[in-house]
């Protein structure tokens, strides 16, 4: 199966990066999805999508005030104009020389590097490596909707694990979150509240 390309890198740091994508590519990336940026045969950075932002400009604002906008004009603005769609990614780990680590990457990706959606096999491999070390990066991000992000990610990862005959992964992930948040009641409640809305827990 061909890798699903979701955009190219606009800006980056060790803790995260932002990709620009075309409307045609917007069907693939989802909030909470795991993505990867290959930077060579032996080095690849992983991250979680925590925000998908559709920017406006003067023309779009003007068109938005019109009673009806015809389909051709909408298609022109979505497909031809350079109104950027920005996908923000939280760095979650990296793979170097075949070893997966849930640490911040030693160096960030560079401008215009390609960003791909991780396939279920890669999601399983990344999320099963170590012991949920990448949760740290999510939990310390004060400006992110932590509960919603974890719920979205766990739901997607759980589907990948369940499909491979490992339905217990999500229970372990939830237990780890409870341990990590035992001293932060407010965040724990927010995370558990969001987790309660996803498929394995709301039956």
């Amino acid at each position: 199966m061909a890798a699903i390309e979701i955009g190219r890198l606009l800006r980056a740091s060790n803790t995260g990066f932002v990709a620009g994508c075309r409307v045609a590519q917007l069907g693939s990336p989802e909030f909470g999805a795991l993505v990867r940026v290959p930077l060579g045969p032996a080095y690849q950075i992983y991250g979680l999508i925590y925000d998908i932002r559709i920017e406006d400009d003067g023309l779009v604002r003007q068109l938005a005030t019109v009673e009806t906008v015809d389909a051709g004009t909408i298609a022109d603005n979505r497909e031809n104009r350079t109104t950027p769609i920005e996908i923000s990614v939280l760095a979650a780990g990296y793979r170097q020389d075949g070893r997966l680590l849930h640490l911040l990457p030693p160096r960030p990706p560079l401008s215009l590097d390609l960003i791909y959606l991780c396939e279920p096999e890669e999601v399983r491999r990344f999320t099963a490596a170590g012991w949920f070390g990448y949760f740290r990066h999510v939990l310390r991000s004060v400006d992110l909707p932590v509960g919603e992000l974890l719920a979205a990610h766990l739901q997607q990862a759980q589907q990948a694990h369940a499909a491979a005959g490992n339905p217990g992964w999500i229970e372990a992930a939830a237990q780890e979150l409870i341990v990590l948040l035992r001293d932060d009641y407010q965040t724990l409640m927010a995370v558990l509240g969001a987790l309660g809305d996803i498929a394995p827990f709301n039956r």
Binding site: Q62, L63, T65, V66, G72, A75, D76, N80, R81
Partner: protein
Amino acid sequence: MSIDFQQVRRQIIELGEAAERSVANNRRLLEEAQYLLHEHARDYDAVRRKIERVVQAYDRNLRCALPLDEALDQGYPLPPLPGQVAILAADGSQIAPSRHESFEYALVNVGAIHMELGAAQAPVLQVESRLLYEAQIEDLTDATLALLRDLGERRLLADLATELPPGAITLTDGQMELWLGEAGSRDEHSLFQESLLEYKLVLQQLRAAQASAAGYVDRPAGRGVMRMLEVLRMTEQELPEVRRSKPFRPLRDLHLFRGLLRPGERSALFEIQSPSSSFYADDLALHFFYLNVGLEGRDSLARVEVPRWVVDTPAMLDDLHAVLVQQCRVMGGRPYPYLLHRAHEIALVTLQEKEEITQMVLRELRGRGLEVFEKSNKQLAKDLESGRR
């Protein structure tokens, strides 16, 4: 220190006082102009004869409107939109050569957009970028560079329209008459003459493709109809003074047709009488009308220039009229044809892009081991200033 706001403030007060004084006078002039328009609304032949006589006897450079056979003081209603029609728009921008830059070059960038009315597909875009250097920029002035740009826009439209079924509508921003400006050196005039000949071929190509061509002028400053009325108010004895007699000078045609045209309506058609009329002869003769592209209670007048073959084909004229209003309505409360705006966006060369092109040129030259100069000291100092702002 940039502006002495105290000085400017005093002058702004004087400006306000002058504007206040002008209001009553302009109102009186407008009433007189409106009266003349109604008075001569159906005297097409007499008006044409008088203007042709003035041109022959007193002012060969007279620029004014010539009526056709439509009542001058009426609005002509918005026709229905055609079912299917291709709309093409083009615009251009340019980089002028500067001896203060690291390398002297010019660039003409022309962008075109093609949309099928009513289709859900995204329009098709096309860009033509032409780099000019060495001998190509010798004697190149701002006026001749603008001329190359204008010609490039129309040439691209003609080439695209030729590939389409008959009935395509092609739009450019601004007047259709190629314009060099008031002054001009001998070299400029020579290039202008060459461009005119090529422009004529482009127009003929559009006519052969059975496409309509139109130049759209937003907030027009034209006063061809006013000038026509100035001639009409003169007695036979006064006509020798026609060059100096411009009593309606503060007014533009815009003032005359505002209130006369309801939203969606166009004015009567006029032919352009100008020193270049003889060049745009027969089917290429340039005409114009005013068009209220605004909404109820929010008039917005544009001037639309078209060649004779459009005027002589009622279906073509109606389609153009309807499509222009539709295109303006796409933009809501600030009516301007959507595709012309998009063509402008496509063609626009930003400062960042200009800098990128300059760097590409310098890399090419350095890669060949050629000497590359720095920007002039003056330009470097200016760049410092702009970086500080």
